[in-house]
């Protein structure tokens, strides 16, 4: 029965140590990094050899009516995070957050280009042009090291206000700035240069809305706005190769400024009958892009003609509707029905454009731009039933219909049926098995359209092709009443057959395994081990003769991961030890037969060895010292980069990026001080 509501007027909570006043903990320390390493510095900021000073910390200032908490992480690194959250609990809350994320892709790259005003990548003052890289005699003397790296900075300001217990107003503004260098191919008709392209992006995002919480549900109306701005309109570069007269400088379009705005109504209702829950979402959005277009070409010698319009005035309307109903007509049975409709309606007008080929010569053709759009209907029904308290069986059917504009397949449907059984004989054992099949049918593969695009009519694009998929999952977790050990194991398998595809992807399968064991040796000590295996294979066929298949390729991605760790707390009441080791190895085997040359590629390999050791010593109630040792070793084998110097490819001037081969020790010492009452 329902317990009588107590008289809480006497519940003084005198023993309750409510947070009041100021309490914080600050860790300051320094680390030494043994070597330069792009991959280790990626996202961490430890990309260069040398010493680093770092600060982490968190604090709380609380009064009877207000809470203000702050957190800083890696303050001394390029991956610093600062978060401030305040609230008058139950009335309003506010947030201010700043984070940086360094991106280090390559530190083995070099280039001849220097960046001058207007984002022009200029050639050295003395430069000898040639038709191929072997003729670029000034190349060696002109190469300058240029790392491919960038940084993302995110500022967030948000808040919410509860005028009444049922209403909630919320708003969140986020500014992302991203700038730095990435790699962009600047091509000419027969050759190309990999450009160290500088980019400078800014995205402003706003989420704001109002929510009403009723007794049995809520209604929320929210606005989402995303506004992207690219500081540059183009990437210009001086062509290092001998070119057609007038084509000495090329220009690639930069990412156009664009925006997307959306209104989203969501709601949830807990119906009193049959434990039914109804949730729905309705979103209408519009994306626009109206950047001033570049001319057809930079080559003044070509009579390229006027653009059909100076801006595209592109517009996308999106519609997203969803309804999910979950109900329990019987105590042990539950039914779920979910339907979802997503539409991308591309309203951009189609116009004739007279393409200039690589600033070299007029194509003499007119291309119509293709405003791709699609609408997708997804529906799934499922039910689960507990014949016994320890057994649960479930089954479901999913239907997807996808209609596309301007593509080889106008209508595509997919039917999926699945079943699942879960057995929990007691609190110590949980075994679940799920399996099913899925058949994707296409109404008609428009070979005429494919041919008009220059495609081999026998090709079937993998996302537009008939596909028969079989899949299965198995998971088990076990713990033991007398032994503080838990074991978890998971396996999944999926097999795809594209049996109507003569050319393109013809088959694919994936097998995944994962196991982990954790042992709480004692209240102070625990050990864990984990392992993973992933094997993704695919086969595809091609036709060099633009006819029936005359070459085959297999692509096998394997991945092993293994890890272990140890935690010991309170050694001699003073010392905590934390140790984690991880090894992860990726291997990709590619075979291409029918090309006339050797079919087997060298394996693409990446091996990560990561060791982290942390020893913490409690000097006093308020002061802790820590020693941290980190070892990361990341050698890779990649034939796409191995031995590819800037002039290895006759017609491509590359940046000479080499496969990663980073090995780093990071040793650090830190002191943590507790401030205020803990």
């Amino acid at each position: 029965g329902q317990s009588a509501t107590p008289d809480t007027s006497e519940w003084k909570c005198e023993r309750c140590p409510f947070a009041s006043g100021y309490q914080a903990d600050v860790t300051a320390g320094s680390s030494y990094v043994s070597d330069d390493a792009a991959t280790i510095g990626d996202a961490t900021g430890y990309d260069e050899q040398g010493a680093y000073v770092n600060v982490d910390g968190a604090g709380l200032y609380a009064t009877a009516n207000h809470r203000l908490s702050w957190r800083v992480e890696d303050l001394g690194l390029d991956s610093r995070v600062v978060e401030i959250d305040g609230a008058r609990p139950g009335t309003f809350a506010y947030r201010l957050a700043y984070s940086q994320l360094p991106r280090h892709r390559f530190d083995t790259t070099s280039t001849i280009f220097t960046r001058s005003s207007g984002n022009l990548l200029a050639l050295p003052s003395t430069w000898t042009f040639a038709g191929t890289t072997s003729g670029l005699t000034d190349l060696a003397a002109s190469l300058v090291s240029r790392d491919i790296e960038s940084e993302r900075r995110t500022l967030e300001i948000g808040g919410q206000y509860l005028p009444t217990a049922r209403f909630r107003l919320f708003a969140d503004y986020q500014r992302q700035e991203r700038d730095g260098t990435d790699i962009l191919g600047g091509s000419y008709f027969t050759n190309s240069s990999l450009l160290p392209r500088h980019f400078d992006y800014q995205t402003d995002q706003v989420d704001a809305g109002i929510r009403y919480d009723a007794e049995r549900g809520f209604l929320k109306l929210a606005y989402y706005g995303s506004f992207f701005d690219d500081k540059f309109d183009a990437v210009r570069w001086d062509n290092p190769f001998v070119t057609v007269p007038g084509a000495e400088q090329g220009a690639l379009a930069a990412a156009p400024d664009n925006d997307f705005q959306q209104l989203v109504l969501t709601g949830n209702y807990r119906a009193p009958w049959m434990d039914t829950n109804i949730s729905f979402s309705a979103a209408m959005g519009r994306g626009t892009q109206n950047d001033t277009l570049l001319p057809y070409t930079t080559n003044a010698n070509l009579a390229a003609g006027a653009l059909p319009r100076s801006t595209l005035d592109a517009e996308i309307d999106t519609t997203n509707l969803a309804l999910t109903v979950v109900s329990k007509p019987f105590p042990n049975a539950r039914f779920k029905f979910a339907i979802r409709y997503d539409e991308r309606d591309n309203k951009t007008s189609q116009l004739p454009w007279s393409r200039v080929i690589a600033d070299s010569f007029l194509s003499g053709e007119t291309d119509l731009n293709v405003p791709y759009g699609f609408d997708r209907l997804r529906m799934n029904v499922s039910g689960d039933y507990r014949p016994f308290e320890t057994v649960r069986v479930a089954a479901g059917y999913d239907y997807t219909e996808l209609d596309r504009d301007f593509q080889e397949v106008a209508e595509q449907t997919e039917d999926t049926g699945w079943g699942r059984v879960q057995w929990r004989p007691n609190q110590y054992l949980d075994i679940s098995a799920r399996g099913g099949i899925s058949r994707r049918e296409v109404n008609r593969y428009d070979e005429m359209l494919a041919a008009s695009l220059g495609q081999n009519p026998l090709l079937r694009k993998f996302n537009l092709a008939y596909r028969y998929r079989q899949f299965g999952e198995l998971s088990a977790s076990a713990s033991f009443p007398e032994l503080p050990i838990t074991i978890g194991a998971q396996a999944t398998y999926a097999d795809d057959s594209y049996s109507n595809s003569l050319l393109g992807l013809t088959a694919g399968d994936e097998l995944r395994l994962a196991v982990d064991v954790s042992w709480s040796v004692s209240d102070q000590a625990s050990v864990y081990l984990s392992g993973g295996f992933d094997d993704i294979d695919s086969q595809q066929a091609g036709s060099g003769a633009f006819s029936t298949p005359d070459w085959q390729a297999s692509h096998s991605d394997q991945f092993y991961s293994a890890g272990g760790g140890l935690r010991i707390a309170g050694i001699g009441d003073k010392v905590d030890l934390q140790l984690d080791y991880t090894r992860a190895q990726g291997t990709t085997q590619i075979d291409v037969t029918g090309g006339g040359g050797p079919s087997r590629f060298p394996d693409l390999e990446s091996t990560l060895d990561s060791l982290r050791v942390k020893i913490l010593y409690r000097w006093s109630e308020k002061l802790e010292a820590s020693l941290q040792l980190r070892y990361e070793n990341f050698p890779t084998e990649d034939w796409a980069l191995q031995g590819v110097a800037p002039d290895t490819l006759p017609t491509i001037l590359t940046l000479g990026a080499q496969p990663y081969d980073d090995e780093v020790w990071i040793a650090g010492i830190g002191f943590r001080y507790l401030i205020g009452v803990q």
Binding site: G1, P6, T8, E10, W11, K12, E14, A19, Q23, A43, T44, S99, L101, I183, L184, S192, L194, F199, T203, F228, A253, N258, F260, N277, S279, G287, L293, N320, T324, V326, R340, W353, Y372, D384, Y428, N456, L458, N463, G504, A514, G532, S538, Q540, G542, S543, D557, G586, I590, V592, G595, G597, P598, F601, L608, T636, A640, V644, T648, P650, T654
Partner: protein, 290 residues
């Protein structure tokens, strides 16, 4: 399990938290007093004025010394952990008693609900900081069940989850959503565009599979291939492009740097020239080379 005749409804304690804290005063318990659950000024908080303090969540504790019925099993009070006498539905029902509005949107019938995941499997309430709410600690908590995602994050090319600089909730809404894979925005692409808006366009020259679904070419959890591609170029590109000439030629191992270096294999492969692979706004960009 032992079933007993339904006991008379348990009574609440006489002094609320002061009763409980007489015995339960270890740091593992007191951490809650640094959190929002222990904010007297918040009328919605368990420790708000007139609320039931510890017994808001753990249920009537008056009979704590004796026995009390929960889900037909003899137990003391509702405990929020694996092996608790209170089933997942009871545990979660207690949390949703207050948080229905916060999490209620599609929680019921969401993937975690389908798998009987309890709120306490992810959330820690009695600690000053809840690991699942922190960007640098969240993935560690999600990985306790999602073992495949844990190994994906170890692959050569992945988002910075292993370094703790990105959270799973950057893309997913674990409490439930009517979107595919519990995504935070309406579609996969809308979710990716939160951080990669430069690829949104709409472009003058669109690349159809890009505008439809980023996961046609990328595995956002991680992959052995650069840019988290699902297969290595040029094979990935050749599975959709068969035009006569170089797109349809077999690129075998004869084209490596040690043989006759092929521009279709080495460096950035197809993107050596078709660098605007996500779309181009250049009037002469229909081949994604401008």
């Amino acid at each position: 399990s032992q079933s007993a005749a339904p006991a008379e409804a348990a009574a609440y304690s006489t002094n609320g938290a002061d009763t409980c804290l007489a015995c339960h005063s270890s740091p593992e318990v007191l951490g809650i007093f640094r959190t929002k659950h222990a904010a007297p000024v918040d009328p919605r908080s368990p420790f708000g004025h007139g609320q039931l303090q510890c017994e808001s969540c753990h249920g009537p504790g008056g009979a704590h010394a004796g026995m009390q019925q929960v889900d037909g099993k003899l137990a003391q009070v509702i405990r929020f952990e694996k092996g608790s006498a209170a089933g997942v539905a009871t545990q979660n029902g207690t949390c949703l008693g207050c948080h229905e509005a916060d999490t209620g949107f599609a929680t019921h019938g969401g993937a975690h609900d389908d798998n009987d995941v309890s709120c306490a499997s992810c959330h820690e309430l009695h600690t000053a900081t809840d690991a699942v709410l922190g960007t640098s600690t969240q993935a560690g908590k999600c990985n306790e069940c999602h073992a495949f995602r844990k190994s994906d994050a170890l692959k050569a090319y992945s988002h910075p989850l292993r370094e703790g600089k990105m959270a799973c909730t950057g893309c997913h809404s674990p409490h439930g959503a009517t979107t595919e894979n519990l995504l935070v925005r309406q579609t996969t692409n809308d979710t990716c565009y939160q951080c990669h808006a430069e690829k949104r366009g709409p472009f003058l020259w669109e690349h159809a599979p890009v505008a439809e679904d980023c996961t046609n070419c990328h595995d956002p959890h991680g992959s052995n291939q650069p840019a988290m591609l699902v297969r290595r170029a040029p094979l990935l590109c050749q599975s959709c492009h068969s035009q006569s000439g170089h797109p349809s030629f077999a690129q075998d191992a004869g084209g490596l740097a040690t043989g006759a270096p092929s521009q279709y294999l080495l460096g950035q492969s197809c993107m050596n020239c078709h660098s605007q692979v996500h779309g181009s706004n250049h009037p002469s960009g229909s081949k994604l080379m401008r």
